[in-house]
């Protein structure tokens, strides 16, 4: 009960933050608002942690808040883990905001929307009825849309991103609503408990329809291929704290929706549902990582990598459903644990990466990797934080990304040869997809770190970059610290995740893994000792450093020019750029990426053997956008042209339409009557 009150209090505080944001004068607006948001997050997480600790659902109902239906909230352990996840990103994002606000995020509408957006994110996982859920979902969607459009006055790209995001998110919401409505129509109630109790008795066809509608709806929010197109447009254009929240938290809520429908409301489904989920996951992971490896815009790279990470989560989710459907509940639970751990990890490192990318943008005025370079010396702290977060997303031990991928790999490994033909094909393919994704992610993030932060500055902006304000560094540091802690000591988060999984899959029985200092899987052989691994790595590094120092005869390190084969002039332009770095990958995957390459050679007037200038451009377009969305857009445009002819602005024509309509109606009545 207390958690229920906390839940309500949290939202109240958060909404106050929104009001504060809108009302207060400029110097006070952001700090007060951010503090209130952070407080709300802490209050909500306390409620969520209470739920996770006791396993008791926290309820709160009010008929005063939403007209007609009333609002009802119920925080289950599954929802609670998502509340914690949101809070993990929202608190740093709010702190970051304090430093970031002068760069175009201090206007009243923006500040207000930001607070409402976070409120929406925090409470969506607690929604316990269709009306409440859809209301909060839309609140979250609309405010995030407003935030994406923050820069629309100055940048054409932001406007276009807003249109893409707005359309896809609302079509997605329509799918979700349809799924809910079908379910509610068959259940005779709109609370989730009512839906849940009636859903199992439905005909398989209806259940499948509901699941597929929900999958499309929530998949579009989660940025799953082929609904990912808004991510690489909206995430880069949104202000960085918003990108961090959208990518770390909002996208995760899309996955929450799929788990909610697939595992909780519908209570699992046949194998083919989960094969679809798994396939979508594998395709998203590969597609996202491939495009991330080929992006030169830092935030676009991060956005594509979100598609990649969510792909891995869906891979785990699909495997989980597959195992549960074939009667391996324990293994199914393990995969779901892997999915949630991947998701929580993603919130941490992707949040940190987006915040650090925002700092880079603030400091240099650009996000284009081909114009960055040398930032680790200009911005040592932000650079180091980005480096650690990047290592984490590359699943480097002993950071948190590694634990997630290990869990996923183990669950897949033990899922081979369960006797289901489809599963036997799916699992090795999933492992291959996981591996190639991991490799391409490393390419993408070594590129981002190496080209962006190492080497020499490639533009004047990067040359004069200065370290960002403390609040921005601190908040990024907070997330990076979480990455390290969750990697070295995953037992900090695993019990909570496990509680959530057992609540979502009540048939599991005992826990799928034992988590002490060693992470031990139950009923299958698999052990990981992350803490020991971390300690031994640190010891080994210390030993090697000591050995190098002890054995070396000459202690002084001489600083020299870089070796350029004796050239007199070695400039920053001779470095590899992000484009050239990705070129081998681009060539290997030529058939998938279909890059557009232009070479312009202009000769001097006197002779065509002497070249005056040469320019080379290469651009990778999103082939799914080209093949799937552009035809639709073109068709809509044609239809629009047609509709325009119906609207000439002549009063007579409109009256004639009315007359025709009346006549047709009468004819119909006459014929039928």
């Amino acid at each position: 009960m207390t958690s229920g009150i906390l839940l309500a209090c949290g939202s109240l505080v958060s909404l106050t933050g929104a009001l504060g944001g809108a009302a207060l004068p400029r110097p006070w607006r952001v700090p007060v608002s951010a503090t209130l948001i952070a407080t709300a997050c802490v209050v909500e997480s306390v409620a969520a942690i209470d739920v996770l600790a006791t396993g008791q659902t926290a309820n709160w109902h009010s008929s005063q808040v939403l007209p007609l239906t009333g609002a009802s909230l119920a925080l289950t352990p599954l929802g609670a883990i998502f509340v914690v996840l949101v809070a993990l990103v929202a608190v740093p994002a709010a702190i970051y905001w304090i430093g970031y606000a002068p760069h175009g995020m201090s206007a009243r509408p923006t500040a207000g929307s930001f607070a409402v957006f976070i409120t929406g994110l925090l409470i969506v996982p607690a929604a316990a009825s269709v009306a409440t859920f859809m209301f909060l979902w839309e609140m979250m969607a609309l405010t995030s849309l407003a935030l994406v459009l923050t820069d629309q006055g100055r940048r054409e790209a932001a406007r276009s991103a807003g249109v893409w995001y707005g359309v896809i998110t609302h079509v997605g919401a329509a799918f979700i609503l349809a799924a809910f409505l079908i379910l509610a129509a068959h259940s005779g109630g709109q609370s989730f408990t009512a839906l849940e109790s009636h859903a199992r008795a439905l005909a398989p066809g209806v259940r499948a329809t509901i699941f597929l509608l929900a999958l499309v709806g929530f998949g579009s929010k989660a940025g799953v291929v082929p609904f990912h197109v808004w991510l690489p447009k909206a995430h880069p254009e949104a202000p960085s704290p918003v990108s961090a929240l959208m990518s770390g938290a909002m996208v995760a809520l899309g996955v929450y929706g799929i788990v909610l429908f697939g595992d909780v409301l519908l209570g699992g489904g046949p194998v083919w549902w989960w094969l679809i989920v798994l396939t979508l996951g594998a395709v998203s992971a590969l597609f996202g990582s491939l495009h991330a490896a080929n992006s030169t815009d830092l935030k676009k790279l991060l956005a594509y990598s979100t598609t990649d990470n969510i792909g891995l989560v869906l891979l785990a989710l699909g495997a989980s459903g597959l195992f549960s459907a074939t009667g391996h509940a324990r293994l199914g639970a393990l995969s779901l644990v892997a999915a949630l751990v991947l998701l929580v990890n993603h919130a941490m490192f992707k949040g940190a990466l987006f915040l650090a990318a925002g700092s880079v943008q603030v400091a240099t005025g650009t996000r284009d990797l081909d114009e960055l370079g040398g930032l680790l010396r200009r911005m040592p702290q932000t650079g180091a934080l980005f480096l650690v977060a990047a290592a984490s997303i590359c699943a480097m031990p002993p950071l948190n990304g590694f634990v997630g991928e290990w869990l996923l790999f183990q669950s897949l490994l033990h899922g081979v040869n369960l006797g289901n033909t489809a599963g036997d094909i799916a699992i090795p393919v999933a492992v291959a997809a996981l591996a190639l994704t991991a490799g391409l992610t490393i390419v993408a993030f070594v590129k981002a770190t190496g080209v962006g932060f190492l080497g020499r500055p490639r533009s004047p902006g990067a040359e004069v970059a200065l370290e960002v304000p403390l609040s921005m560094r601190m908040s990024t540091g907070l997330l990076v610290t979480m990455c390290v802690v969750a990697g070295v000591a995953p037992m900090v988060i695993l019990p909570a995740v496990e509680r959530a999984v057992r609540a979502a899959l009540p048939g599991v029985g005992s826990a799928p893994l034992v988590h002490g200092v060693r992470l031990q899987l139950v009923s299958v052989r698999g052990v990981l000792a992350p803490t020991v691994l971390a300690v031994s790595l640190v010891v080994a590094v210390a030993v090697v450093v000591f050995a190098r120092r002890a054995l070396a005869r000459r202690r002084v390190v001489r600083v020299t020019e870089v070796w350029g084969c004796g050239r007199e002039l070695v400039t920053a332009r001779m470095q590899y750029t992000a484009t050239s770095f990705a070129e081998p990958v681009q060539r290997v995957f030529d058939d998938v990426l279909r890059p557009v390459r232009d070479i312009d050679v202009s000769h001097v007037a006197e002779s065509r053997y002497v070249i005056e200038s040469m320019s080379y451009r290469s651009h990778v377009n999103d082939q799914i956008e080209n093949a799937l969305y552009l035809p639709v857009i073109r068709a809509i445009r044609r239809w629009g042209q047609f509709a325009r002819r119906l609207q000439p602005g002549s009063v007579h024509r409109y009256l004639a339409y009315g007359l025709v309509a009346l006549v047709v109606t009468l004819v119909v009545v006459a014929v039928l009557g």
Binding site: T421, A422, D424, I425, P428, V429, V588, D591
Partner: protein
């Protein structure tokens, strides 16, 4: 021959057959491809011999010898002759490039294994469980047939299909009647001879063995 040695030999033989099929997609040099085919013929003979020895089936042992002579020696030698005269004896530009072919081969292997799973699980014998290998070799042969340009690679593809079918037959029924196998082998031999003649003609007229050039013959 004790049972575990028999099972291992059989498994290795089948694995070698699939491996050779993969190698034909992997390599570009036609000589290497033909060599892989020869090894595959020998492996097929080995499988037949193992089955024959284990089941005390004299007919199968004779078939093994015949397979060895026909598929391991005669056919590869004939094809090698064609290759030797071809100046550019490389499969330079297959319709599907090599990495993609290999990934496709992986998919086909999976398909073969899952499609014949129902069959092979039912056949509880050591040999019955290996049927998927034969299917895989056959499918890869078909793929080679569909995507390779050179006449020689086409012949090899056809022979891969034939070897795959032969393997399935050996494993499924522990031996086709001798006469059927002889007939099939003769057919194949005939095809090879005809193709060799055709290839020689093609080279004389067109100067290469690229099948795409045949498309230009219509005028």
């Amino acid at each position: 021959m004790n049972h575990s040695a028999y099972a291992s030999l059989l498994g290795l033989g089948c694995a070698a057959i699939v491996l050779c099929a993969v190698v034909t997609l992997w390599r570009r040099s036609l000589r290497a491809i033909v060599r892989a085919l020869a090894v595959q013929g020998v492996a097929l003979a080995l499988v037949a011999l193992t089955l024959g020895l284990h089941g005390h089936n004299r007919g199968l042992e004779i078939v093994a010898v015949l397979v060895f002579v026909a598929k391991g020696v005669v056919v590869p030698t004939l094809i090698t002759r064609v290759v030797r005269h071809d100046v550019a004896s490389r499969e330079t530009q297959p319709l599907v490039n090599v990495p993609a072919s290999l990934v496709a081969a992986g998919v086909l292997i999976f398909l073969a294994f899952s499609a014949s799973r129902s069959v092979s699980v039912l056949a509880s014998s050591a040999s019955g469980r290996l049927i998927p290998y034969g299917m895989a070799a056959m499918l890869i042969g078909f793929f080679a047939l569909a995507t390779r340009r050179k006449a020689v690679s086409q012949i090899v593809g056809l022979l891969l299909v034939d070897n795959g079918i032969a393997l399935v037959a050996f494993l499924a029924t522990a031996g086709v009647p001798l006469i059927v196998e002889l007939g099939a082998s003769l057919d194949v031999l005939l095809i090879v001879v005809v193709l060799q003649v055709l290839a020689t003609q093609m080279r004389l007229r067109l100067g290469s063995l690229d099948l795409d050039q045949l498309a230009e013959l219509h005028d």
